[in-house]
């Protein structure tokens, strides 16, 4: 262990963490607006990765160019899932039911992906995937840096949409209080559908970077969803800023533990950090204060 290794781990944490932050933002946005925990987010990331894979293998479309196709496709997938299933969930058990429904959806997608692409691991390829440049002794993989920039661009776009457009005002109003939002004339149904679409659309970008930096198959989704859930709870469920901070810090801590102690404990450190934080702050880092036990 030396300072270069530590710096390098810090770099990895921030670059990779930004991608997790992007995927988790979609999840927390959906939860905040709709009270739905989308357990399918993990498999949707993998679906996004497989879409990039299919475009690349069959039509030789570059990964980043392919995003112009995969992001809208995943948006539509999200809309379809919301229309078919999510919109039917109502009542006090809505959140619990949403867990089961989205889990069922993820089983359907997992089974289908296994049948179409087999269970063998694949990884996305591009001329830039194995390449890296160095600053001092620290190496920066092209894909990681590109992923960081991509996450930055998409998150900025999301923030612009939420804080600078009329639609964003409706989304934030629905985040704060659905009933009041409906009372002032916001079409909460439409906002929910589009929010779900957006929350799912970010998985296309997240999946592409994930697939280029890891080899994956459909069952990789379990690892992904457990990390994403941990991130949004740590950040405070429904808090967008919280998802960003938690996403970066979780991967950062994991990588640090990996370097300082041993890689086998790095994924466990997420969950331990989560438990410790929740002991001190049950609502998560940036969560709203506990009010009524909903």
């Amino acid at each position: 262990m030396n300072s270069i290794a530590l710096l390098s781990a810090a770099k990895d944490g921030i670059l990779t963490g930004s991608i997790y932050a992007l995927m988790a933002t979609g999840l927390t946005l959906i939860f905040g607006v709709m009270d739905i925990i989308n357990l399918a987010q993990g498999i949707l990331v993998i679906l996004g990765a497989y879409l990039s894979y299919a475009l690349q293998v069959h039509w030789h479309i570059d990964l980043f160019v392919g995003l112009l196709i995969t992001i809208p496709t995943m948006f539509i997938v999200g809309i379809v899932i919301e229309r078919l299933f999510m919109s039917r969930l109502k009542g006090p058990e809505k959140t619990a039911m949403s867990l089961l429904v989205t889990y069922a959806v993820s089983l359907l997608i997992e089974g289908s992906l296994n049948m179409i692409f087999s269970v063998n691991d694949v990884q996305l390829q591009g001329w830039y995937v194995p390449k890296a440049f160095a600053i001092g002794q620290i190496h920066f993989g092209y894909v990681y840096v590109a992923g960081f920039i991509l996450a930055g661009v998409l998150l900025s776009a999301l923030y612009f949409m939420l804080y600078r457009t009329r639609f964003g005002v409706s989304v934030r109003a629905s985040l704060a209080d659905q009933t009041s939002a409906a009372l002032v004339g916001i079409d909460v149904r439409r906002v929910s559908t589009i929010t779900f679409g957006i929350g799912v659309a970010v998985t296309a970008a997240g999946g592409m970077i994930y697939g280029a930096t890891n080899s994956f198959n459909a069952s990789s989704s379990y690892d992904l969803i457990s990390r994403l859930l941990t991130i949004i709870v740590l950040g405070g469920m429904g808090s967008l800023g919280g998802a960003m901070v938690a996403g970066v810090s979780m991967v950062f801590i994991g990588d640090m533990v990996g370097v300082i102690w041993s890689p086998v404990w790095s994924s466990m450190s997420y969950f331990v950090v989560l438990v410790i934080v929740l002991l001190l702050r049950p609502q998560g880092l940036f969560g709203k204060q506990l009010t009524r036990a909903a």
Partner: protein, 344 residues
């Protein structure tokens, strides 16, 4: 004097007790052992999550702890392979309860939907520990003393122990449901703040319920370990286990007594059967997911409640028809009475 309702339970137990005598094919008795394990777990899960409304997706923590208790104790005590090992089944349950206290204390401090996620996180802490610590045997798992009673009747003792767990879990669940404690759990489900306002010690009640429900799951895990003879961390700490017992309970009817029993009976038996007959697990995932969606979409309260509602509704319709008839007669005689009659 037995009530009619109790008679049905006695009959059901008798039918289940007869099963291995009638069905001797090892394939079907193996399926039956797994089915009883899941029936016990789903019932126990429902006793906390169904009654209190706190959906837990971390019960595999208890299942795994029970399984490892069975494996580690039987190995370190150098137990002879055989029926003595069944004594470790309740021990597995007790160890699971010991883990459940701090688990519940941490996880039950938060709101319901955060609780779900914390249970998942705690689950992963246990799974990763089992994979990474030395004494658990890591990913290669642990091999238990090899049981050598005959091949033909190998499953029968396991089946009866499993069935006793089902009976125990159901009796406990029924007792809780009728007790003051059970009412407190239900009050928490319906309105936690109001329950607290009315003097229910919500934290204590939740943690007690959570811990109590851990026992049967841990015992079932111990039985599983003894039955399969070799445990791996990814199978005893399996996220599918958590979701399966939740699904079984939802399928049957959350918060009902018969729901989880029925759900586990149908789902686990069919799942085991399908895995044996279909080797294509992807197709199975699709079928399972589709069934799951259909149930949740069309019978969100579970099959038991759905059927019960249909029966009640039909009875109501008949009563209405009768009432309408009476009304028509009454109308002909004295219109004034109708107003009084309508107020019933």
């Amino acid at each position: 004097m037995l009530q009619k309702k109790n008679l049905w339970w006695v009959l059901a137990i008798a039918v289940f007790a007869m099963y291995p005598i009638v069905v001797t094919n090892p394939l079907f008795t193996t399926i039956a052992v797994f089915t009883t394990i899941y029936m016990a777990c789903a019932t126990s899960w429902n006793m906390f999550s169904g009654y209190s409304g706190y959906i837990a997706l971390g019960s595999a923590v208890f299942y795994g702890s029970g399984a490892y208790t069975m494996a580690l104790l039987s190995l370190h005590l150098h137990m002879a392979a055989g029926s003595d090992m069944f004594w470790l089944v309740p021990v597995g349950g007790l160890v699971a309860m010991v883990f459940a206290v701090p688990f519940g204390w941490i996880a039950l401090r938060v709101r319901r939907h955060t609780f779900v996620v914390i249970t998942i996180a705690v689950f992963f802490i246990f799974q990763l520990s089992a994979i990474n610590f030395g004494f658990t045997g890591g990913t290669s798992g642990l091999a238990l003393p090899f049981i050598t009673w005959g091949y033909q009747n190998f499953n029968t003792p396991f089946y009866y122990v499993g069935l006793s767990l089902v009976v125990f879990a159901t009796a406990l669940s029924a007792a809780v449901r009728r007790s003051r404690f059970g009412l407190q759990l239900l009050a928490i489900r319906d309105d936690e703040d109001r329950a607290m306002g009315l003097g229910v010690k919500v934290s204590a009640v939740k943690i007690t319920g959570f811990t109590l429900s851990a026992f049967t799951v841990g015992a079932a895990g111990a039985l599983y370990a003894m039955f399969v003879g070799q445990i791996y961390p990814q199978f005893v700490f399996d996220p599918m286990f958590d979701v399966s017992i939740a699904l079984m309970t939802f399928l049957g009817g959350l918060g009902t007594l018969t729901g989880p029993l029925l759900g586990a009976l149908v789902l686990e038996a069919s799942q085991q059967y399908l895995t044996v007959t279909f080797s294509n697990s992807s197709l199975y995932l699709i079928l399972f997911g589709a069934l799951f969606l259909i149930v949740i979409m069309f019978m969100p309260q579970g099959v038991v409640v759905y059927l019960r509602d249909r029966v009640t509704r039909r009875a109501e319709r008949e009563r209405e028809a009768v009432a309408a008839n009476d009304l028509a007669t009454a109308d002909a005689v004295a219109p004034l009475d109708v107003a009084v009659g309508g107020a019933h």
